[in-house]
């Protein structure tokens, strides 16, 4: 069983992910390092328990560099102290923020709300590409919100992409029943239809292959 580490004795040197534009903003799991020994770093996955970091994987500084070079983690130029109850997240400009969890959640909720509002407006203007980009920001900021999925579903409907619309309904299903989700999509579509010519994707154009049964 790996040693639990007191978070107050750690510093943050990066995060265990490499982000692209369409993943932002995003909460990220920090890569920690012992304040007392710069050659001992701690990687996700891990868990927190009462201010302690548990079950992290310990690696050396050279292994960290290897992981950075193979594009598996991101390292910051400067380390900063870790704090229990804080959240690390990266904004749309790739800038990291380290804040108390409530504060980070409030900020991300605001970004999601703004993204939803702007995506809805872009959809009404018929700018589907912008609506899609903004709904992506909203869902990345807060994956509990269902509106970005409804906006994406509306975009797919306007494009005549039934499979895409159905996929968004599938993503929303755990939090909103299908009938209500459809009403929400109808509502978003109301201002958008007619502005974008649609070209349905015929199901017959997709190649079907026989399925095989069990995994592993």
């Amino acid at each position: 069983m790996p040693t639990p580490w007191n978070v107050d004795e750690l510093e943050i040197v990066g995060y265990g992910n490499v982000l692209t534009n369409d993943m932002l903003p995003s909460v990220v799991p920090p890569v920690f390092r012992l304040r007392s020994d710069a050659n001992r770093a701690l990687l996700p996955p891990y868990s927190f328990n009462a201010g302690f970091l548990c079950n992290a994987t310990e690696v050396s500084q050279s292994e960290l560099e290897d992981l950075r070079h193979s594009n598996e983690i991101t390292l910051f130029g400067d380390a900063f102290p870790a704090r229990a109850g804080f959240e690390l997240w990266v904004d749309q400009a790739f800038q990291p923020h380290y804040q108390p969890r409530d504060e980070a959640n409030r900020k991300l909720s605001r970004i999601a709300a703004e993204g939803i509002k702007n995506a809805g407006e872009a959809l009404r203007r018929g700018n589907l590409e912008e609506a899609q980009r903004l709904s992506g920001i909203a869902i990345s900021a807060d994956d509990k919100r269902v509106e970005p999925l409804a906006i994406k579903a509306a975009i797919r409907r306007v494009q005549g992409n039934e499979t895409g619309e159905r996929l968004m309904a599938e993503l929303a299903a755990p939090v909103l029943e299908e009938r209500l989700f459809k009403l929400l999509v109808d509502n978003y579509c109301r201002g958008a239809v007619g502005k974008q010519p649609t070209k349905p994707i015929p199901a017959s154009s997709r190649r079907r292959m026989p399925r095989r049964s069990s995994p592993l």
């Binding site: 992910n17 909460v27 996700p44 996955p45 869902i139 994956d143 993503l171 997709r206 292959m209 095989r212």
Partner: protein
Amino acid sequence: MLGTADSVFFYVSPFRYPHTGCGLLFAHSLESEYENDGVATPFDSGGLMNKFIRPNPDEPPQEFLSRHELPIPEHRRYLCQSMDALFHTPADYVEGSHPRWPGPIGLDGGDQRRWTHEVRIPDRVPVRGSHLQAVFAPKARVAASSAVEDLFQWCTTEGVDRITFDTPRGDDFEALRRECLSYIRRTLY
């Protein structure tokens, strides 16, 4: 250094590589299609580089690797016997629990990838094929990334299972691992 750089790597297990948030689960039928050029080892070959301790440190990793290569899909006979003989229950292998007995390979150190079977197939393996059993991705990735959404749409039309999940605190791998185990328990147990 191991001579495996141009291969596609598979774990014969739930997802075990910790720096990832999305996963592809293939049916075992994939191995039969590549039986002429694919190969298996009863451990993660990458772990031979600085992670696992070999019984004879003087033996170069590449030699150790080639000594333990097994044909596919026949390596599964060895895997079945290992699951029965080395683990408290065969499900322990799937769940990632430590084996009761170390087994004959003689490796030490590292994590559960030390006893996880690996299949390597040279060059490339098409994702959108009949062997794809299930795809796993965070919900936000499916909704925000055109490439991931496109794959999930293809899976919808082809009847491939689609597993999406929330990733609280950005710990994508932990959520991915949990969802994959849950899927396998539902499908196999």
